[in-house]
């Protein structure tokens, strides 16, 4: 029986990194302020003391340089884990992500794979300045060659991060900073993998399926509990990986309930809720008993924080969405 530690999600990030760095000398972390400072969210706290400046590396303030040089490190046989301080600052590195990180295997005919994990905290709700609250996972899920992981619990975070580091292909690892410290969970001290591409049923239910991921999993579960008191039996499916999505789990759940709600804080237009809705139309139309509801961020820039609580889906909006689906 393995020892466990009671960790927050951000501590699980740190623990996942430390555990894998201990096991594999090829793993290096790089990014802005991740060394002596331990990361602006402390996701790499103490790692430089533990592994040295050659493996936990402070970089210049240059997102394209961070992603691009990490690609070079990976080509050279290392397993880099670059951090972008906030996902809203990934855009200067976007060309590197899309033109190279995603396509290096294809372009090199699999001579080179890029076993790299691009970490970034994403999402709103922490009262941050402009450009610090984006949830733009579809930029990356739209790109062939990438995998996109968005954990929602400390246990999954460590296991998914270890899987991502061991994955031969590049992974964009978006961490829900809203819940970095929201709760704790027992996390094994040893290394373990949570498979990429597998969803988790967080709450079983018979009446309606709610598909969500990352920080939105909590308000969704909260809404499910509230509605349970009214006799609505809600199933909550946490995608955990948004690309490649666990389509089988999504379709299976929907076949059971015939009703679906998708919840994400990313904007609606072109968002994953549309993709999931189309999937259900294609694969399970005859099971459908109600229109599929989308509870998402609005198609506006994430507002400054005096208004961000209105922007982010919360338990009240999720409840309404679920009611729409079950009362149709």
């Amino acid at each position: 029986m393995s020892e466990t530690q009671n960790l927050t999600l951000v501590q699980a990030v740190r623990d996942g990194l430390a555990t894998e760095m201990e096991l594999d000398d090829d793993v290096v972390a790089l990014g802005q302020d991740i060394g002596a400072n331990g990361g602006v969210f402390r996701a790499t706290q103490g790692l430089q003391d533990e592994f040295g400046e050659q493996r936990v590396i402070d970089t210049p303030l240059a997102e394209s340089g961070i992603v691009g040089s990490a690609i070079g490190l990976a080509v050279g046989g290392m397993k880099p884990v670059p951090e972008i301080q906030f996902s809203g600052f990934m855009y200067p590195g976007f060309d590197q992500i899309v033109s190279h990180m995603a396509r290096y295997r294809t372009r090199s005919r699999s001579r080179f794979s890029l076993p790299m994990v691009l970490r970034a905290p994403y999402g709103g709700g922490i009262r941050a300045p402009e450009s610090h609250s984006d949830s733009k996972e579809t930029f990356y899920s739209h790109e062939a060659g990438l995998k996109v992981v968005m954990p929602s619990t400390p246990y999954d975070t460590k296991g998914l991060l270890i899987s991502a580091i061991r994955d031969p292909d590049p992974v964009v690892f978006l961490e829900p900073k809203l819940i970095y410290r929201a709760f704790r969970e027992d996390v094994p001290e040893e290394a373990y993998e949570v498979p990429i591409g597998e969803a988790a049923v967080r709450r079983e239910g018979a009446d309606v399926s709610v598909f969500t991921y990352g920080a939105m999993t909590r308000p969704t579960l909260e809404a499910a509990e509230t509605l349970a008191e009214e006799g609505v039996d809600v199933e909550v499916v946490d995608l955990r990986t948004v690309s490649p999505m666990d389509r089988e789990a999504v379709v299976e759940s929907f076949k059971k309930t015939g009703r679906a709600v998708v919840v994400h804080e990313a904007p609606r237009n072109g968002g994953l809720a549309g993709e999931i809705t189309a999937l259900l139309q294609e694969e399970a139309l005859v099971y459908q008993e109600a229109p599929i509801e989308r509870v998402t961020g609005f198609d506006v820039p994430v507002p400054l924080y005096a208004m961000e609580d209105y922007y982010l889906p919360n338990a009240a909006r999720v409840e309404d969405g679920i009611r729409e689906a079950v009362e149709f």
């Binding site: 340089g65 691009g68 070079g72 050279g76 090199s108 001579r111 080179f112 292909d169 490649p244």
Partner: protein, 369 residues
């Protein structure tokens, strides 16, 4: 190692325009000198045939290199076997020196993914089309050698004059300086970024001087003088491997040269530059220049030149035949090499498409060419 030469007339040179020795030649045996000459001739002949293939509709858009053989071949010869080359998309000549068969280059520009198959022992990174985007990779690759304690390997990263205006040039060069990596940043300044002349790219007097801002040495070389290019590149690689105390490992080389032809076959340079300018630069052509030198040294004569011409013509003929005999890829090949393991959704897309193609026949999909 030379310092920056601010006077463009005073840049590092070994041969003048007529092939007379004006500087200390590099220490190369006769056989290697002839090989350099042969590979420059091969690159030129290949280039002319490739442009012609495009004009005949036998190949897609192609970026010509004529005029740039001195920089490409001279620098590639300076690399050691284990060194790496990080190309942009015009380095067909340098790639041949590094072991990439001509057939591969033809296939790539003929639109075949198989053109990207690089022999396992050829230390070349894939072609990078977005300008300057390969420069951070080069910095990272050289950094990996350093982190792994490999002190024997160095590399060369090619890019053009236009690339020096890109953010990735700055970020890659900056990383290289900060982490002091064994990489030579080789700028093929061919004077034109499609239609934008060198003086519009930057107000800097030289491109080489930009290296100073990153804390390492920059040097200008006559890029149409293969021996000068070889010498400067070899010095830079040697410094990358074995720097003196407090001497930074990276170097930026600005190889001043000219592209005789278009940016690509889709471009018409007569719209933006004078024929007079082209003729002026053609007087510096690296091939007759080295040939004149080798003849004056008694290393080359008419018979040898004729033999070389015959050999390279046959070599290019054979490569074209081989490339044109390549079977068209099967549709499912599109789905290969995207992930190590194909995700279920992609497997479904592939299988459905293969079934669709089978149902309609390939001719229903393939446009007349």
């Amino acid at each position: 190692m030379s310092t920056i030469q601010r006077d463009p007339e005073d840049r590092v040179q070994v041969l003048d325009e007529d092939g007379n020795l004006v500087g200390e030649p590099p220490d190369l045996d006769e056989e290697t000198l002839v090989d350099i000459y042969r590979d420059m001739k091969l690159a030129r002949h290949f280039d002319e045939r490739a442009v012609s293939l495009q004009r005949q509709g036998r190949m897609g858009t192609y970026p010509p290199l004529s005029g740039q053989e001195g920089a490409q071949i001279g620098s590639a010869y300076a690399l050691a076997d284990d060194d790496w080359m990080v190309p942009s998309y015009r380095e067909h000549g340098a790639a041949v020196v590094r072991g990439l068969p001509l057939k591969q280059t033809l296939l790539y520009w003929m639109g075949y993914e198989a053109g990207n198959d690089v022999p396992a022992d050829a230390n070349i990174l894939p072609v990078a089309v977005p300008i300057a985007s390969q420069i951070p990779h080069a910095a990272g690759l050289a950094w990996s050698w350093k982190l792994q304690g490999n002190e024997d390997t160095a590399g060369i990263c090619y890019f053009g004059d236009g690339a020096t205006s890109e953010g990735d040039f700055h970020e890659g060069m900056n990383f290289a300086g900060v982490y002091d990596v064994p990489m030579v940043f080789f700028c093929n300044n061919n004077q034109w970024a499609i239609s934008v002349p060198r003086e519009r790219q930057t107000a800097s007097e030289t491109l080489a001087q930009k290296a100073h801002a990153y804390g390492f040495e920059g040097v200008q070389v006559d890029g149409m003088d293969p021996l000068a290019v070889y010498k400067v590149t070899q010095d830079a690689l040697e410094k990358a491997r074995n720097p003196d105390e407090d001497q930074p490992r990276p170097t930026m080389i600005e190889a001043v040269q000219y592209r005789f032809g278009a940016h690509t076959t889709a471009d018409d340079p007569t719209v933006y530059r004078d024929e007079e300018e082209v003729e002026r630069w053609k007087a510096k052509d690296p091939i007759p220049r080295l040939e004149a030198y080798l003849r004056s040294e008694g290393i080359l004569d008419d018979d040898a030149v004729a033999e070389i011409e015959e050999t390279i013509e046959r070599q290019v003929d054979d490569a074209i035949d081989a490339a044109e005999s390549e079977p068209r890829p099967e549709p499912e090949e599109m789905f290969e090499h995207v992930y190590a393991d194909l995700p279920p959704e992609l497997r479904d897309q592939r299988d459905e498409f293969v079934a669709t193609v089978d149902r309609h026949g390939k001719d229903a999909f393939l446009e007349e060419e």
